[in-house]
């Protein structure tokens, strides 16, 4: 590890958060497994944002860790993909899927709570203390796991509470024991901040409100960049470079980016003051290649012209921490309801 001090830690999921991956059907799974590193497609803006966040400056550095549910057999291909993108993860953990199958731990093949939480705590154990920002997606339980991790780091969930949550989540007893051991040694510093959830499935943002305003559902990484800019974690130029990359490589226009900006204001993840600050910073900002002339003015003009009053949904009151057991119960009831839906010839078997 570098001698430089660590200013920030970014923890990233891989599938649907970094890579555009389909694994909803068996065919998708096979296709994903057979894809070459060159064929794998990134989520728009992710590489630029990651590079901007981990860019070395001020004698400090940011760490990036990847904890993915992809099977460990994918490691060579995924490492090659990182190499192609110019990304060097400090930690890269993949799921021991084959071992789970061989040991008959079939719940662990699909389940994420035990695996990801244990991995997060393990990485935290051996790592430096620094503010953390987490990135996941809406395909699995990232918002749940990351929020729980953040609340453990903040000392908001005790051992008994954690035990009950893990029990209800169906985590195998050995994994549960490992998590509880790590929890006992855990550094409680409240260092985990923003949790970004990439809405790969375009899920309703309200679905994540149960986790509170710390969780920011995002449709794209321009939105994440804007929130990080408002938080003071990014300057304007890197934000614009994310936008430029999305326009150049992924077909985004000013309209889509302005809509994304407006969406954050509507959901109150950004205040109207973010517009003013951006407007103030823009003249001093260097030229960013790939952006059309007058991009910032057009973007701001569009957001302002159609700007909402900012009184919408996310403004509702939230009393945390989340009721994790309640969330698991609600999920279970929903699954049972779906399974109980009658098929064409009666009830599903």
């Amino acid at each position: 590890m570098s001698e430089l001090s660590v200013r920030h830690i970014y923890r990233w999921d891989l599938d649907k958060t970094y890579l555009r991956t389909d694994f909803d059907t068996l065919r998708d799974l096979i296709r994903t497994a057979l894809q070459t590193p060159e064929e794998k497609v990134n989520v728009p803006g992710v590489v630029t944002l990651l590079k901007e966040l981990t860019h070395q400056n001020d004698g400090s550095r940011a760490l990036v860790t990847f904890i993915s549910g992809s099977p460990s057999q994918m490691r060579p291909k995924l490492e090659r993909k990182f190499e192609l993108d110019g990304i060097r993860p400090d930690v890269f953990i993949l799921k021991p899927t084959l071992q789970n199958i061989l040991k008959g731990r079939f719940r662990a093949v699909r389940g994420q709570v035990g695996y990801k939480l244990d991995s997060l705590l393990k990485v935290r154990e051996g790592g430096p203390a620094a503010p953390e920002t987490l990135f996941g997606d809406d395909a699995e339980q990232d918002a749940f796991i990351y929020s729980l991790y953040a609340d453990l780091a903040g000392g908001k969930v005790d051992r008994d509470g954690l035990f009950e949550i893990l029990d209800r989540a169906g985590v195998y007893s050995t994994t549960r024991a490992s998590i509880l051991e790590r929890y006992a040694r855990m550094r409680i510093d409240g260092n985990v901040g923003r949790i970004f959830i990439h809405l790969d499935r375009h899920s309703a943002p309200g679905r994540f409100w149960v986790y509170g305003p710390r969780v920011v559902p995002i449709t794209n990484y321009f939105q994440a960049a804007l929130v990080l800019y408002a938080d003071g974690s990014l300057k304007l130029e890197p934000v614009l470079r994310v936008a430029a990359g999305m326009m150049r490589e992924h077909g985004y226009g000013v309209v889509e980016l302005a809509n994304s900006f407006q969406d954050l204001i509507r959901r109150r993840h950004l205040g109207a003051e973010a517009l003013d600050r951006l407007s103030e910073d823009a003249p001093g900002c260097g030229v960013v290649g790939g952006l059309p002339p007058g991009f910032v003015e057009r973007l701001l003009g569009r957001v302002r012209a159609l700007a909402p009053r900012g009184g919408g949904g996310a403004g509702r009151t939230w009393e945390g921490p989340p009721d994790y057991v309640g969330v698991l119960e609600a999920d279970r009831r929903l699954r049972e309801k779906i399974e109980a839906e009658p098929g064409l010839f009666g009830r599903r078997q």
Binding site: G206, E256, P308, G312
Partner: protein, 351 residues
């Protein structure tokens, strides 16, 4: 069909009996179709808090949806003209203004029909050569037509205005022909004039004169007069009539379908034999219901304006509004106002 880079549809979020919930839901669903670069965006116009609250609970692609706050709405019971004069900040007025300003390419509304027609005709110019815009509705028939194998007859006008002069009815015929050519890909649509008799000399003086004009016009494949009962038989591809008659006709046709299904429902509970018969027929009945359900075709285009305008039934549900959005996109992609202007131009030079 010409290709366009990006399309924006302005949607009056507050219009309709179930607004804004169903309108926002339809837009949310439509935003999930197609990726970035395939370019269809939606501009929802209405109460920002209500729209935001609705979107918060819905799966949607926020990259494709923009909100514009309009604080008031014109209610169903209001007099259109008076309400429009009094409230320039109403959602339908603001939506029209945004289309007029070039912020959007088309308008979709399920709001007060009179107010929507009036606002649209005030904001958008008429296609050159036309005296009046017409609201076109479709009705399912057993016949299919054109390359698109479209089972629908087009009826216009169904209520954009009450009366029409003979030359305006001729304009409806030309517009309807152009629309059928573009949407149904029906090269020579059969145009008929709705009357109380097949005889060319029967009907109001306007209808008699319109018959003369339509039959003489070379650009129109004129079938002649048809009577009301011939609409559902699909004898004509385009049915021309004045708004008052068209509005009454389309509502009767919709009512007959609904009444038939109400009768079937009653019969189902009355006798075991009828129930068994209906059970056996249920597949076919379901198909008929799908065809005759107004939600299946969603919206009616207001033809003759320089912008695409689709009006939905005020009691439209999510499916109907969703289909209206599809129709708006299709009409914008086909550059319908330009195509109608070209058709009228050709028609005028031939006529």
């Amino acid at each position: 069909m010409r290709s366009r880079e990006s399309i924006t549809i302005a949607v009056d979020a507050m219009g309709g009996d179930h607004a804004p919930a169903v309108v926002v839901a339809a837009v949310a669903e439509a935003s999930l179709r197609g990726g970035v670069g395939q370019g269809v965006n939606f501009l929802l116009v209405g109460d920002e808090i209500a729209m935001t609250e609705a979107l918060f609970e819905l799966d949607h692609n926020s990259e494709r949806i923009q909100l514009f706050h309009a604080p008031t709405v014109i209610g169903m019971g209001e007099r259109a003209q008076v309400a429009l004069e009094a409230r320039a900040d109403a959602s339908i007025v603001q939506a029209c203004a945004l289309v007029q300003a070039g912020e959007a390419d088309a308008l979709v509304s399920a709001g007060h029909p009179g107010a929507a027609v009036l606002a649209a005709t005030r904001h958008f110019g008429l296609v050159p050569g036309l005296g009046r815009a017409a609201l076109a509705s479709v009705y399912p028939t057993p016949r299919v037509r054109g390359e698109a194998e479209d089972p629908f007859s087009l009826i216009l006008d169904v209520g954009a205005s009450l009366r029409a002069k003979p030359d305006e009815l001729l304009g409806f015929g030309l517009m309807g022909s152009a629309y059928a050519r573009i949407v149904s890909r029906n090269e020579r649509p059969r145009v008929a004039l709705l009357s109380n008799s097949r005889e060319s000399t029967m009907g109001t003086p306007e209808v008699v004169r319109a018959h003369e004009l339509l039959s003489r016009h070379e650009a129109i494949n004129f079938y002649g007069n048809i009577e009301g009962h011939e609409i559902p038989r699909g004898l004509a591809d385009v049915v021309v009539c004045e708004g008052f008659v068209g509005d009454v006709a389309i509502k009767i046709l919709e009512g007959v379908s609904e009444a038939a299904f109400d009768l079937a429902r009653s019969a189902y509970h009355e006798r075991v034999a009828w129930r068994m018969g209906l059970k056996l027929l249920s597949g076919g009945l379901q198909k008929i219901k799908q065809l005759t359900d107004f939600e299946a075709y969603g919206g009616a285009p207001l033809l003759g304006l320089e912008k695409v305008v689709i009006l939905c039934h005020p009691r439209s549900g999510r499916r109907a509004v969703g289909n209206a959005l599809r129709l708006a996109i299709k009409n914008v992609r086909a550059e319908l106002p330009v195509a109608i202007a070209e058709a009228l131009d050709t028609g005028t030079s031939q006529g």
